[in-house]
Symmetry: C3
Subunit: 328 residues, 3 copies
């Protein structure tokens, strides 16, 4: 139960209604009930105004659309994000250190750290104040994890890895895996041992089952505020600049440098040894094969068509270079 | 050792041959030996009739092709599927609850449940009759798992998640991971805490290392009979209808609703906030960017060509809009 | 600390300089310091010759570019790969068998095996000499792992799986997961139990969170020297020939046979039941829909363009079959 007054304070909003109104959940505008708080960004139809929510976060220009309690803010979506923290499940509290964890005597564990059962902390690992480590996590030797990070269940962090403050590493992610490097040796491949590490800044999120390889000689670098979704592959020596956000299933090949404030859509692929400057948006399912030196939006996605239509277009595409228009 | 009579009974087939013939393995038609059972669907060449198999499951119209023991059925492939269960490895038996598991006193564990070593069951989790949980599994607080589910090794199920009866969750899958939701806050991103859960129906299979995010406010929903292959990403608030089957490496972005009886080919990608109706087939490697409101088959895949040919076609494609035929 | 004499011996090189010079790290040519060894392959600019490295591995033709200690070899990149092994982190030593592992009395564990905490070894598993198993690993019943393999943290190996000598299985990989096989049964799907296994040759590397399904009846086969990067999906009954290298995020559908010495670029997808001969290169992001019976390079990738340019090309592409040039 949180009062509207507390919520208005959290989001720096102007309350129109009952400050003592008690909210017990945050809900979508259509699914809200009497004791819910919801938010309105203006993108939906008129019927949203018939929400059952007990309170709505919205812009002043939409204020008259709702007759219930209102909190007026400049950016309702951002306000919703801030308020969502107030409703986080209680199981995110720290729980202390499990008797079933194996922690090296040579690890340094700060106060207020929680470590779940069946987790392993290696020699000379440094775990700072307030870090929460789930169950079945592997933290290798010399790994450093700064204040208030959340390391979810079954994460593996190995090799020389530094993780900054307030990061969230989701379940099943692997950080510091061996980069894919081989030298040709006759008919076979000679493995190149990967001697670098991974350096992750503050406020970085890493999604479930995402993999980040350690560098071959230098580090793989993920700067402050980067957000990575699930099932992403970041190869060795990649660098990703501040506040870049990358959606699920993206693959980034070795040694590519991506600037800050980029947005990379789901399933995009970026080849190795490229440079992408700041403020580049790459749309979903796009392949990047050359450096991008100018900010802007880039694409190569082909949307689905009914397959009989697509097959005809494809047949033409596959012999474009032989077409008569080619000679005109 | 299983007799042909028992197999014919299992598949509701008509036995032509020795009912006491003892089968000790199920094999492909080419690799079968004297004591094997195999099946024939008619799709291969004449030499299949020279199989060494001791017995063949087949349609009546192919009966004279084989001189060995035969079981006549309407659908040999379906009969093979049914028979395969009889040959399942013995290690699928339940083994009781390991002394090396950590199980909350506040969890409810039914009879005939097996839980492997180094698994963790959280507070108020409810595990129904006959559920088999492998080793190193994390079942979070308040997770509910219904009768006879198989939860393989290293699976993580977290957040408010309900799993129906007879589901199989393969190794390394993560269910209930945090959705990828952020609000822009100046130059950085404000995390939106994900307060919803995941609701999974009966007879759902989830492949190895597949990830299913919990909803932001409402639930992510996977209906009865859905089959998901390996390394699939299902984002927050996605809904997938009954009996839809999705092949490996598919990514589905947030809030997309997919109907029932759809088939989605490997590596397909579906953008967010779309609606796809029932009975839609999406071919492999296809990108869906708009809602699909009509049943049928959809595609945007481009098959490989020798790269010198492809490069010429690609060169034309990339300047199609400047081509002379454009003006004709 | 390793002397140049020892390094020259390791790479069969000719030393020009001080044989007692002590190297303490391997670094890139730009980031090297006084006590570093580096290598020069000729691909960079003149300023490389200003490296601070105390020693350089290079070809004889580049010898005069550097005034520091030099080791002359035929293939500096291969020499670098060989030397990298000398600098591998000490934590790759074997550490014995953890008291916190659960090992079946019916498993056969050779000498000099290390097994990390919270790992499980099933009945009749056979672990040969010198194998190193990390923490939280699941090795199922009857799995066989040959000499000197490294099985990293949280790996799951299940079902009938044989792994050859000197393999490295990276963290989070799943080998032997259930193949995706179903028979249509009215409106729903009948699961086909997967009764085959996985056979992996010698010197195979498997990347982090990669999944390899076991065969439905016969085995999935990965031959000697194959290298698989992270987040790859190998479906049931796939066969991959010797020394083929596959980059990250590739998906290979069921029963496809890939020859030896192929190179498959990142994010490529290969449909099922195909045959690809030896010495085929498939470029990144390419889709293979038909068998490839001729060695060579194949592609279907479309590189990104600025999205306003791409949208125009795409608009043309999507109505190619209706274009006037089509009738000319």
């Amino acid at each position: 139960m949180i009062t509207l007054a507390a919520i208005a304070h959290e989001v720096d909003g102007q309350l129109e209604g009952d400050p003592d109104f008690a909210v017990d959940a945050l809900h979508g505008i259509q699914t809200a009930c009497r004791s819910s708080l919801t938010f309105y960004t203006g993108q939906f139809s008129q019927k949203n105004s018939q929400t059952k929510a007990g309170a709505v976060i919205l812009k002043s220009e939409h204020s008259e659309l709702f007759s219930t309690n209102r909190i007026i803010v400049e950016d309702p979506y951002l306000a919703y994000a801030r308020v969502s923290r107030l409703f986080v499940l209680e199981n995110n509290r720290t729980h202390g250190i499990s008797d079933h964890a194996v922690i090296s005597d040579h690890a340094v564990i700060a106060d207020d750290v929680s470590i779940g059962p069946f987790s392993v902390i290696g020699d000379e690992a440094v775990i700072e104040y307030g870090v929460r480590i789930g169950s079945g996590v592997h933290i290798g030797e010399k790994v450093s994890i700064k204040r208030r990070c959340v390391i979810e269940d079954r994460v593996v962090i190995t090799g020389p890895v530094d993780i900054g403050r307030d990061c969230v590493i989701s379940a099943g992610a692997v950080i510091g895996s061996c980069g894919f490097g081989y030298a040709r040796d006759g008919n076979s491949w000679q493995r190149i041992e990967q001697l670098g590490g991974v350096k992750i800044g503050d406020r970085v999120d890493v999604g479930a089952n995402t993999t980040i390889d350690r560098g071959s000689l230098d580090n793989t670098v993920i700067e402050d505020g980067v957000k990575l979704d699930n099932l992403i592959q970041i190869a060795h020596n990649v660098q990703i600049g501040e506040n870049t956000a990358i959606a699920g299933c993206v693959g980034i090949a070795g040694s590519t440098r991506i600037g800050g404030n980029c947005r990379i859509g789901g399933r995009a692929a970026i080849l190795g040894h490229l440079e992408i400057v700041d403020n580049v948006d790459i749309l979903a399912n796009t392949l990047v094969t050359k450096s991008i030196l100018k900010p802007g939006e880039y694409a190569s996605m082909i949307p689905a068509q009914p397959s009989n239509v697509w097959r005809k277009n494809l047949a033409m595409l596959r012999r474009l270079s032989r077409s008569t228009f080619n000679k005109s």
